[in-house]
Protein backbone atom coordinates (compact mmCIF):
# COMPACT_ATOMS: atom_id res chain seq x y z
CA UNK A 1 0.00 0.00 0.00
CA UNK A 2 1.30 3.43 -0.92
CA UNK A 3 2.33 5.39 2.13
CA UNK A 4 1.37 9.03 2.62
CA UNK A 5 4.32 11.24 1.89
CA UNK A 6 5.69 14.12 3.91
CA UNK A 7 7.52 16.44 1.53
CA UNK A 8 9.79 19.18 2.84
CA UNK A 9 10.01 22.37 0.81
CA UNK A 10 13.04 24.66 0.89
CA UNK A 11 13.07 28.09 -0.74
CA UNK A 12 16.38 28.41 -2.51
CA UNK A 13 17.93 31.55 -3.95
CA UNK A 14 21.20 30.92 -5.73
CA UNK A 15 23.26 28.68 -3.48
CA UNK A 16 21.39 29.48 -0.27
CA UNK A 17 18.22 28.46 1.48
CA UNK A 18 16.32 31.63 2.31
CA UNK A 19 13.68 32.22 4.96
CA UNK A 20 14.91 31.45 8.43
CA UNK A 21 15.76 27.84 8.95
CA UNK A 22 16.47 27.32 12.61
CA UNK A 23 18.22 24.03 12.94
CA UNK A 24 20.65 24.02 15.78
CA UNK A 25 24.08 22.50 15.45
CA UNK A 26 24.25 22.60 11.70
CA UNK A 27 27.43 24.24 10.56
CA UNK A 28 26.06 25.96 7.49
CA UNK A 29 22.47 26.77 8.32
CA UNK A 30 21.61 28.06 4.88
CA UNK A 31 23.20 25.33 2.80
CA UNK A 32 20.58 23.49 0.72
CA UNK A 33 22.64 20.29 0.48
CA UNK A 34 23.14 20.05 4.25
CA UNK A 35 19.50 20.84 4.97
CA UNK A 36 18.11 18.42 2.41
CA UNK A 37 20.23 15.55 3.73
CA UNK A 38 19.34 16.49 7.29
CA UNK A 39 15.63 16.26 6.46
CA UNK A 40 16.23 12.91 4.77
CA UNK A 41 17.81 11.67 7.98
CA UNK A 42 14.74 12.91 9.89
CA UNK A 43 12.49 10.82 7.68
CA UNK A 44 11.35 13.22 4.95
CA UNK A 45 9.99 11.28 1.97
CA UNK A 46 10.93 13.90 -0.61
CA UNK A 47 12.59 17.27 -0.88
CA UNK A 48 11.34 20.16 -3.00
CA UNK A 49 13.54 23.11 -3.90
CA UNK A 50 11.50 26.13 -4.79
CA UNK A 51 13.79 28.34 -6.84
CA UNK A 52 13.11 31.97 -6.00
CA UNK A 53 16.08 33.29 -7.95
CA UNK A 54 15.84 36.78 -9.30
CA UNK A 55 18.52 36.48 -11.98
CA UNK A 56 19.85 34.07 -14.58
CA UNK A 57 23.07 33.89 -12.59
CA UNK A 58 21.29 32.70 -9.47
CA UNK A 59 19.29 30.23 -11.53
CA UNK A 60 22.44 28.69 -12.95
CA UNK A 61 23.80 28.43 -9.42
CA UNK A 62 20.71 26.54 -8.31
CA UNK A 63 21.34 23.88 -10.95
CA UNK A 64 24.80 23.41 -9.50
CA UNK A 65 23.22 23.11 -6.04
CA UNK A 66 20.83 20.49 -7.40
CA UNK A 67 23.79 18.55 -8.77
CA UNK A 68 25.58 18.58 -5.43
CA UNK A 69 22.37 17.70 -3.61
CA UNK A 70 21.57 14.76 -5.87
CA UNK A 71 24.98 13.29 -5.12
CA UNK A 72 24.20 13.15 -1.42
CA UNK A 73 20.45 12.83 -1.26
CA UNK A 74 18.91 9.40 -1.67
CA UNK A 75 15.26 10.41 -1.71
CA UNK A 76 13.47 12.16 -4.58
CA UNK A 77 14.22 15.81 -5.32
CA UNK A 78 11.78 18.13 -7.06
CA UNK A 79 12.78 21.48 -8.47
CA UNK A 80 10.26 24.21 -9.19
CA UNK A 81 10.24 27.93 -9.81
CA UNK A 82 11.14 29.67 -13.02
CA UNK A 83 10.81 26.58 -15.18
CA UNK A 84 9.40 27.74 -18.51
CA UNK A 85 10.21 25.27 -21.27
CA UNK A 86 10.82 21.56 -21.84
CA UNK A 87 14.49 22.49 -22.24
CA UNK A 88 14.41 24.03 -18.75
CA UNK A 89 12.92 20.76 -17.52
CA UNK A 90 15.73 18.86 -19.26
CA UNK A 91 18.36 21.05 -17.60
CA UNK A 92 16.84 20.54 -14.14
CA UNK A 93 16.59 16.77 -14.62
CA UNK A 94 20.14 16.57 -15.91
CA UNK A 95 21.31 18.60 -12.95
CA UNK A 96 19.83 16.11 -10.54
CA UNK A 97 16.11 16.70 -10.11
CA UNK A 98 13.83 13.68 -10.22
CA UNK A 99 10.77 15.80 -10.86
CA UNK A 100 10.22 19.31 -12.08
CA UNK A 101 7.25 21.49 -11.25
CA UNK A 102 5.75 24.03 -13.62
CA UNK A 103 3.43 26.80 -12.53
CA UNK A 104 3.00 30.13 -14.37
CA UNK A 105 4.59 28.79 -17.55
CA UNK A 106 1.93 26.08 -17.80
CA UNK A 107 -0.82 28.69 -17.54
CA UNK A 108 0.82 30.84 -20.22
CA UNK A 109 1.49 27.87 -22.50
CA UNK A 110 -0.17 24.60 -21.37
CA UNK A 111 1.53 22.70 -24.22
CA UNK A 112 4.74 22.76 -22.18
CA UNK A 113 3.28 20.08 -19.89
CA UNK A 114 2.76 17.74 -22.84
CA UNK A 115 6.17 18.52 -24.30
CA UNK A 116 7.85 17.71 -20.99
CA UNK A 117 5.78 14.57 -20.37
CA UNK A 118 6.45 13.27 -23.89
CA UNK A 119 10.18 13.71 -23.48
CA UNK A 120 10.65 12.61 -19.88
CA UNK A 121 7.49 10.81 -18.79
CA UNK A 122 4.50 12.00 -16.77
CA UNK A 123 6.09 10.80 -13.53
CA UNK A 124 8.56 13.70 -13.52
CA UNK A 125 6.14 16.47 -14.51
CA UNK A 126 4.46 18.21 -11.58
CA UNK A 127 1.81 20.84 -12.21
CA UNK A 128 2.07 23.40 -9.45
CA UNK A 129 -1.19 25.27 -8.90
CA UNK A 130 -1.62 28.27 -6.61
CA UNK A 131 -5.30 28.68 -5.83
CA UNK A 132 -7.29 31.28 -3.97
CA UNK A 133 -10.98 31.34 -3.17
CA UNK A 134 -12.65 33.97 -5.33
CA UNK A 135 -15.99 35.70 -5.23
CA UNK A 136 -18.81 33.20 -5.36
CA UNK A 137 -16.72 30.53 -3.68
CA UNK A 138 -14.92 29.03 -6.66
CA UNK A 139 -11.14 28.66 -6.45
CA UNK A 140 -9.21 30.69 -8.97
CA UNK A 141 -5.71 30.03 -10.23
CA UNK A 142 -3.16 32.71 -9.47
CA UNK A 143 0.26 33.03 -11.07
CA UNK A 144 3.52 34.96 -10.72
CA UNK A 145 3.99 33.77 -7.15
CA UNK A 146 0.41 34.55 -6.19
CA UNK A 147 0.47 38.14 -7.43
CA UNK A 148 -1.69 37.83 -10.53
CA UNK A 149 -5.17 36.37 -10.87
CA UNK A 150 -6.16 34.33 -13.90
CA UNK A 151 -9.63 33.47 -15.21
CA UNK A 152 -8.88 29.77 -14.66
CA UNK A 153 -10.92 27.77 -12.17
CA UNK A 154 -8.59 25.61 -10.07
CA UNK A 155 -10.36 22.25 -10.29
CA UNK A 156 -10.89 22.47 -14.05
CA UNK A 157 -7.30 23.65 -14.51
CA UNK A 158 -5.98 20.71 -12.49
CA UNK A 159 -7.93 18.36 -14.75
CA UNK A 160 -6.52 20.05 -17.83
CA UNK A 161 -2.97 19.80 -16.46
CA UNK A 162 -3.42 16.06 -15.99
CA UNK A 163 -4.98 15.67 -19.46
CA UNK A 164 -1.95 17.45 -20.87
CA UNK A 165 0.54 15.18 -19.16
CA UNK A 166 1.16 16.23 -15.56
CA UNK A 167 1.80 13.19 -13.36
CA UNK A 168 1.24 14.97 -10.09
CA UNK A 169 -0.44 18.11 -8.77
CA UNK A 170 1.17 20.35 -6.17
CA UNK A 171 -1.76 22.35 -4.87
CA UNK A 172 -1.08 25.42 -2.78
CA UNK A 173 -3.77 27.44 -1.05
CA UNK A 174 -2.75 31.09 -1.17
CA UNK A 175 -5.35 31.84 1.50
CA UNK A 176 -3.69 29.44 3.92
CA UNK A 177 -0.05 29.83 2.93
CA UNK A 178 1.94 30.78 6.03
CA UNK A 179 -1.20 31.03 8.18
CA UNK A 180 -0.59 27.73 9.99
CA UNK A 181 -4.32 27.23 10.44
CA UNK A 182 -4.44 24.01 8.43
CA UNK A 183 -4.60 23.12 4.76
CA UNK A 184 -7.61 24.21 2.72
CA UNK A 185 -9.40 20.87 2.98
CA UNK A 186 -12.30 21.77 0.68
CA UNK A 187 -9.94 22.87 -2.07
CA UNK A 188 -7.70 19.84 -1.63
CA UNK A 189 -10.61 17.42 -1.70
CA UNK A 190 -12.22 19.10 -4.71
CA UNK A 191 -9.02 18.72 -6.72
CA UNK A 192 -8.00 15.28 -5.38
CA UNK A 193 -11.42 13.85 -6.22
CA UNK A 194 -11.36 15.36 -9.70
CA UNK A 195 -8.02 13.98 -10.94
CA UNK A 196 -6.45 10.53 -11.13
CA UNK A 197 -2.87 11.53 -10.25
CA UNK A 198 -1.40 12.15 -6.80
CA UNK A 199 -2.23 15.50 -5.21
CA UNK A 200 0.16 17.18 -2.79
CA UNK A 201 -1.56 19.50 -0.30
CA UNK A 202 0.38 22.69 0.40
CA UNK A 203 -0.11 25.85 2.39
CA UNK A 204 -1.29 26.11 5.96
CA UNK A 205 0.44 23.36 7.93
CA UNK A 206 0.63 24.47 11.55
CA UNK A 207 0.62 21.21 13.46
CA UNK A 208 0.65 17.46 12.87
CA UNK A 209 -3.13 17.15 13.02
CA UNK A 210 -3.36 19.32 9.90
CA UNK A 211 -1.37 16.74 7.93
CA UNK A 212 -3.72 13.99 9.05
CA UNK A 213 -6.73 16.09 8.03
CA UNK A 214 -5.26 16.82 4.59
CA UNK A 215 -5.10 13.09 3.93
CA UNK A 216 -8.29 11.87 5.61
CA UNK A 217 -10.58 14.80 4.83
CA UNK A 218 -8.75 16.43 1.95
CA UNK A 219 -7.94 13.12 0.21
CA UNK A 220 -4.38 14.28 -0.44
CA UNK A 221 -1.74 11.69 -1.31
CA UNK A 222 1.05 13.77 0.15
CA UNK A 223 1.56 16.87 2.25
CA UNK A 224 4.08 19.64 1.79
CA UNK A 225 5.58 21.17 4.92
CA UNK A 226 7.99 24.07 5.25
CA UNK A 227 7.78 26.78 7.92
CA UNK A 228 6.95 24.72 10.98
CA UNK A 229 9.96 22.51 10.30
CA UNK A 230 12.35 25.32 9.42
CA UNK A 231 11.32 27.22 12.55
CA UNK A 232 12.09 24.17 14.65
CA UNK A 233 8.52 23.87 15.95
CA UNK A 234 8.40 20.18 15.13
CA UNK A 235 10.28 17.47 13.25
CA UNK A 236 9.40 15.20 10.35
CA UNK A 237 9.64 12.23 12.71
CA UNK A 238 7.19 13.81 15.16
CA UNK A 239 4.75 14.65 12.35
CA UNK A 240 4.91 11.11 11.06
CA UNK A 241 4.35 9.67 14.55
CA UNK A 242 1.04 11.52 14.72
CA UNK A 243 0.08 10.40 11.21
CA UNK A 244 0.91 6.80 12.10
CA UNK A 245 -1.05 7.01 15.36
CA UNK A 246 -4.03 8.26 13.31
CA UNK A 247 -3.86 5.05 11.31
CA UNK A 248 -2.23 6.45 8.18
CA UNK A 249 0.42 4.38 6.41
CA UNK A 250 3.71 6.28 6.60
CA UNK A 251 7.26 5.19 5.92
CA UNK A 252 9.24 4.38 9.04
CA UNK A 253 12.48 6.18 9.69
CA UNK A 254 15.28 4.08 8.20
CA UNK A 255 18.40 3.35 10.19
CA UNK A 256 20.99 5.77 8.94
CA UNK A 257 24.15 3.75 8.50
CA UNK A 258 24.37 2.87 4.84
Amino acid sequence: MLTRRVIVCLDVKGARVVKGVQFVGLRDVGDPVALATRYEAEGADEITFLDISASAEERATLLDVARRTAEQLFIPLTIGGGVRTADDVARALRAGADKVSLNSAAVTRPEVLTEAADRFGAQCVVASIDAKRGEGGAWKVWVKGGREETPLEAVAWAQECVARGAGEILLTSIDRDGARTGYDLDLTRAVADAVNVPVIASGGAGEARHLVDAVTEGHADAVLVAGILHDGLTTVAALKDVMRAAGLPVRALPELVA
Binding site: M1, L2, T3, R5, E40, D45, R67, A70, E71, Q72, L73, F74, I75, P76, L93, R94, A95, G96, A97, D98, K99, F120, G121, A122, Q123, C124, G167, E168, N196, V197, P198, D221, A222, R251, A252, P254, E255, L256, V257, A258
Partner: protein, 226 residues
Protein backbone atom coordinates in the same frame (compact mmCIF):
# COMPACT_ATOMS: atom_id res chain seq x y z
CA UNK B 1 49.79 -2.83 -7.19
CA UNK B 2 46.51 -1.58 -5.84
CA UNK B 3 43.62 -3.83 -4.83
CA UNK B 4 41.53 -4.72 -7.86
CA UNK B 5 38.27 -2.89 -8.00
CA UNK B 6 34.91 -3.97 -9.33
CA UNK B 7 34.37 -2.47 -12.78
CA UNK B 8 30.81 -1.21 -13.02
CA UNK B 9 29.35 0.14 -16.25
CA UNK B 10 26.17 2.18 -16.44
CA UNK B 11 24.32 2.09 -19.75
CA UNK B 12 23.13 5.65 -20.32
CA UNK B 13 20.05 6.07 -22.52
CA UNK B 14 20.60 9.83 -22.10
CA UNK B 15 17.13 10.19 -20.67
CA UNK B 16 17.78 11.80 -17.35
CA UNK B 17 19.48 12.19 -14.06
CA UNK B 18 22.09 9.59 -13.15
CA UNK B 19 23.65 11.53 -10.26
CA UNK B 20 22.13 9.69 -7.29
CA UNK B 21 22.52 6.36 -9.04
CA UNK B 22 26.19 6.89 -9.92
CA UNK B 23 26.84 8.17 -6.41
CA UNK B 24 25.23 5.09 -4.90
CA UNK B 25 27.56 2.78 -6.88
CA UNK B 26 30.72 4.79 -6.35
CA UNK B 27 32.34 3.00 -3.44
CA UNK B 28 35.86 2.32 -2.25
CA UNK B 29 35.75 -1.02 -4.10
CA UNK B 30 34.28 0.08 -7.46
CA UNK B 31 35.28 2.01 -10.54
CA UNK B 32 32.29 3.35 -12.39
CA UNK B 33 32.00 4.32 -16.03
CA UNK B 34 29.00 5.56 -17.97
CA UNK B 35 28.60 4.09 -21.46
CA UNK B 36 26.33 5.31 -24.21
CA UNK B 37 27.15 2.38 -26.46
CA UNK B 38 25.30 -0.79 -25.39
CA UNK B 39 27.94 -3.21 -26.68
CA UNK B 40 30.73 -1.26 -24.97
CA UNK B 41 28.70 -1.29 -21.75
CA UNK B 42 29.13 -5.06 -21.45
CA UNK B 43 32.80 -5.15 -22.52
CA UNK B 44 35.53 -5.16 -19.88
CA UNK B 45 33.14 -4.89 -17.01
CA UNK B 46 32.22 -6.86 -13.91
CA UNK B 47 28.71 -5.50 -13.47
CA UNK B 48 26.16 -3.67 -15.60
CA UNK B 49 23.61 -1.15 -14.37
CA UNK B 50 20.54 -0.36 -16.46
CA UNK B 51 19.23 2.89 -15.02
CA UNK B 52 15.64 3.80 -14.51
CA UNK B 53 14.78 7.05 -16.18
CA UNK B 54 13.15 7.36 -19.57
CA UNK B 55 10.61 5.74 -21.83
CA UNK B 56 10.73 2.21 -23.28
CA UNK B 57 10.88 3.01 -27.00
CA UNK B 58 13.80 5.47 -27.05
CA UNK B 59 15.70 3.23 -24.62
CA UNK B 60 15.07 0.16 -26.81
CA UNK B 61 16.30 2.17 -29.82
CA UNK B 62 19.48 3.06 -27.94
CA UNK B 63 19.86 -0.58 -26.99
CA UNK B 64 19.22 -2.04 -30.45
CA UNK B 65 22.78 -1.96 -31.84
CA UNK B 66 24.17 -3.87 -28.87
CA UNK B 67 21.11 -5.80 -27.78
CA UNK B 68 22.41 -9.23 -28.70
CA UNK B 69 25.81 -8.59 -27.14
CA UNK B 70 24.16 -7.42 -23.94
CA UNK B 71 21.73 -10.32 -23.87
CA UNK B 72 24.57 -12.79 -24.40
CA UNK B 73 26.59 -11.19 -21.61
CA UNK B 74 23.68 -11.38 -19.15
CA UNK B 75 22.84 -14.96 -20.08
CA UNK B 76 26.56 -15.69 -19.72
CA UNK B 77 26.47 -14.63 -16.09
CA UNK B 78 27.39 -10.94 -16.06
CA UNK B 79 25.83 -9.43 -12.93
CA UNK B 80 23.25 -6.81 -13.89
CA UNK B 81 20.97 -4.54 -11.92
CA UNK B 82 18.08 -3.09 -13.94
CA UNK B 83 16.19 -0.30 -12.24
CA UNK B 84 12.59 0.66 -13.14
CA UNK B 85 12.78 1.07 -16.94
CA UNK B 86 16.01 -0.94 -16.70
CA UNK B 87 14.04 -3.85 -15.22
CA UNK B 88 11.40 -3.51 -17.93
CA UNK B 89 14.13 -3.78 -20.57
CA UNK B 90 14.91 -7.28 -19.25
CA UNK B 91 11.54 -8.43 -20.66
CA UNK B 92 10.31 -8.80 -24.26
CA UNK B 93 8.05 -5.89 -25.16
CA UNK B 94 6.16 -2.98 -23.64
CA UNK B 95 2.73 -1.50 -24.14
CA UNK B 96 4.39 1.88 -23.61
CA UNK B 97 5.64 1.70 -27.17
CA UNK B 98 7.38 -0.37 -29.81
CA UNK B 99 10.84 -1.80 -29.30
CA UNK B 100 12.59 -5.03 -28.44
CA UNK B 101 13.72 -5.65 -24.89
CA UNK B 102 16.50 -8.00 -23.85
CA UNK B 103 14.18 -10.99 -23.34
CA UNK B 104 16.24 -12.27 -20.44
CA UNK B 105 12.83 -12.85 -18.89
CA UNK B 106 9.69 -13.64 -20.86
CA UNK B 107 6.75 -11.34 -20.52
CA UNK B 108 5.32 -8.00 -21.39
CA UNK B 109 5.36 -4.59 -19.77
CA UNK B 110 1.85 -3.20 -19.32
CA UNK B 111 0.19 -0.20 -17.73
CA UNK B 112 -0.60 -0.36 -14.03
CA UNK B 113 -4.20 -1.41 -13.53
CA UNK B 114 -5.09 1.29 -11.04
CA UNK B 115 -6.95 4.57 -10.83
CA UNK B 116 -3.97 6.65 -9.78
CA UNK B 117 -1.30 6.30 -12.41
CA UNK B 118 1.61 7.02 -12.33
CA UNK B 119 2.26 5.40 -9.01
CA UNK B 120 4.38 7.98 -7.24
CA UNK B 121 5.57 7.42 -3.72
CA UNK B 122 6.72 4.88 -1.19
CA UNK B 123 5.17 1.45 -1.22
CA UNK B 124 5.85 -1.75 0.67
CA UNK B 125 7.60 -4.89 -0.56
CA UNK B 126 6.02 -8.32 -0.24
CA UNK B 127 9.03 -10.64 -0.56
CA UNK B 128 8.62 -14.19 -1.80
CA UNK B 129 10.21 -17.18 -0.07
CA UNK B 130 13.06 -17.92 0.21
CA UNK B 131 14.03 -14.33 0.92
CA UNK B 132 16.59 -13.05 -1.59
CA UNK B 133 20.00 -12.27 -0.03
CA UNK B 134 19.86 -8.68 -1.33
CA UNK B 135 16.65 -8.09 0.61
CA UNK B 136 18.09 -9.75 3.70
CA UNK B 137 21.26 -7.68 3.58
CA UNK B 138 19.55 -4.36 2.86
CA UNK B 139 16.57 -4.68 5.18
CA UNK B 140 14.62 -2.93 2.46
CA UNK B 141 10.87 -2.92 3.07
CA UNK B 142 9.44 0.40 1.87
CA UNK B 143 10.65 1.62 -1.50
CA UNK B 144 10.19 4.61 -3.79
CA UNK B 145 8.26 4.20 -7.03
CA UNK B 146 7.65 6.57 -9.93
CA UNK B 147 6.12 4.41 -12.65
CA UNK B 148 3.12 3.95 -14.88
CA UNK B 149 4.15 0.57 -16.28
CA UNK B 150 5.00 -2.76 -14.66
CA UNK B 151 6.34 -6.13 -15.83
CA UNK B 152 4.07 -9.13 -16.32
CA UNK B 153 6.24 -12.25 -16.42
CA UNK B 154 4.85 -15.20 -18.33
CA UNK B 155 5.54 -18.90 -17.97
CA UNK B 156 8.67 -19.85 -16.08
CA UNK B 157 9.63 -16.20 -15.55
CA UNK B 158 6.97 -15.91 -12.88
CA UNK B 159 9.20 -18.01 -10.63
CA UNK B 160 11.89 -15.35 -10.74
CA UNK B 161 9.90 -12.74 -8.82
CA UNK B 162 11.62 -12.08 -5.48
CA UNK B 163 9.14 -9.48 -4.22
CA UNK B 164 5.77 -8.06 -5.15
CA UNK B 165 4.12 -4.73 -4.43
CA UNK B 166 0.46 -3.85 -4.61
CA UNK B 167 -0.80 -0.50 -5.91
CA UNK B 168 -4.54 -0.18 -5.34
CA UNK B 169 -5.68 -3.62 -6.54
CA UNK B 170 -2.79 -4.36 -8.87
CA UNK B 171 -0.14 -6.73 -7.50
CA UNK B 172 2.98 -6.52 -9.65
CA UNK B 173 6.61 -7.73 -9.50
CA UNK B 174 8.64 -5.30 -7.41
CA UNK B 175 11.87 -7.17 -8.03
CA UNK B 176 13.06 -10.15 -10.05
CA UNK B 177 16.20 -12.24 -10.13
CA UNK B 178 17.35 -14.68 -12.77
CA UNK B 179 20.83 -15.92 -11.97
CA UNK B 180 23.04 -12.87 -11.55
CA UNK B 181 20.54 -10.53 -13.18
CA UNK B 182 18.42 -8.50 -10.78
CA UNK B 183 15.58 -6.16 -11.70
CA UNK B 184 13.93 -3.63 -9.40
CA UNK B 185 10.77 -1.81 -10.45
CA UNK B 186 11.35 0.66 -7.60
CA UNK B 187 14.23 3.13 -7.33
CA UNK B 188 16.74 1.84 -4.75
CA UNK B 189 18.87 4.96 -5.30
CA UNK B 190 15.87 7.03 -4.15
CA UNK B 191 14.84 4.70 -1.32
CA UNK B 192 17.11 6.29 1.28
CA UNK B 193 19.69 4.30 3.29
CA UNK B 194 18.13 0.81 2.88
CA UNK B 195 17.92 1.40 -0.88
CA UNK B 196 21.59 2.32 -1.06
CA UNK B 197 22.36 -0.80 0.98
CA UNK B 198 20.44 -2.85 -1.61
CA UNK B 199 22.64 -1.45 -4.40
CA UNK B 200 25.81 -2.04 -2.35
CA UNK B 201 24.72 -5.62 -1.57
CA UNK B 202 24.32 -6.21 -5.32
CA UNK B 203 27.81 -4.79 -5.91
CA UNK B 204 29.36 -6.98 -3.19
CA UNK B 205 27.69 -10.00 -4.76
CA UNK B 206 29.21 -8.94 -8.10
CA UNK B 207 32.64 -8.78 -6.46
CA UNK B 208 32.32 -12.42 -5.38
CA UNK B 209 31.17 -13.46 -8.84
CA UNK B 210 34.00 -11.58 -10.55
CA UNK B 211 36.53 -13.03 -8.10
CA UNK B 212 35.26 -16.54 -8.84
CA UNK B 213 35.47 -15.93 -12.57
CA UNK B 214 38.93 -14.45 -12.08
CA UNK B 215 38.02 -11.24 -13.89
CA UNK B 216 37.90 -8.79 -11.00
CA UNK B 217 39.41 -5.51 -12.07
CA UNK B 218 41.25 -7.01 -15.03
CA UNK B 219 42.01 -4.65 -17.87
CA UNK B 220 41.09 -5.10 -21.50
CA UNK B 221 44.55 -6.36 -22.44
CA UNK B 222 44.67 -8.84 -19.57
CA UNK B 223 41.36 -10.21 -20.79
CA UNK B 224 42.94 -11.43 -24.00
CA UNK B 225 43.71 -15.11 -23.61
CA UNK B 226 45.91 -16.92 -26.13
Amino acid sequence: MSTPRLRVSVFDYEAGNLHSLVKSIETEFTTVRVERDPAAAVRDTDALILPGVGAFTPAAERLASGRDAMRDALLGGLPCLGICLGMQLLFDHSDEGPGQGLSVLTGRVTRLDAQRVPQIGWNTLEPTAPLDPLLVQSGLDTVYYANSFVCRPTGESGRHVIAYTTHEGDRFPAAVRVGNVVGAQFHPEKSSAPGVRFVRAFLREAVHIAAQRGTLGSSATEDVTP
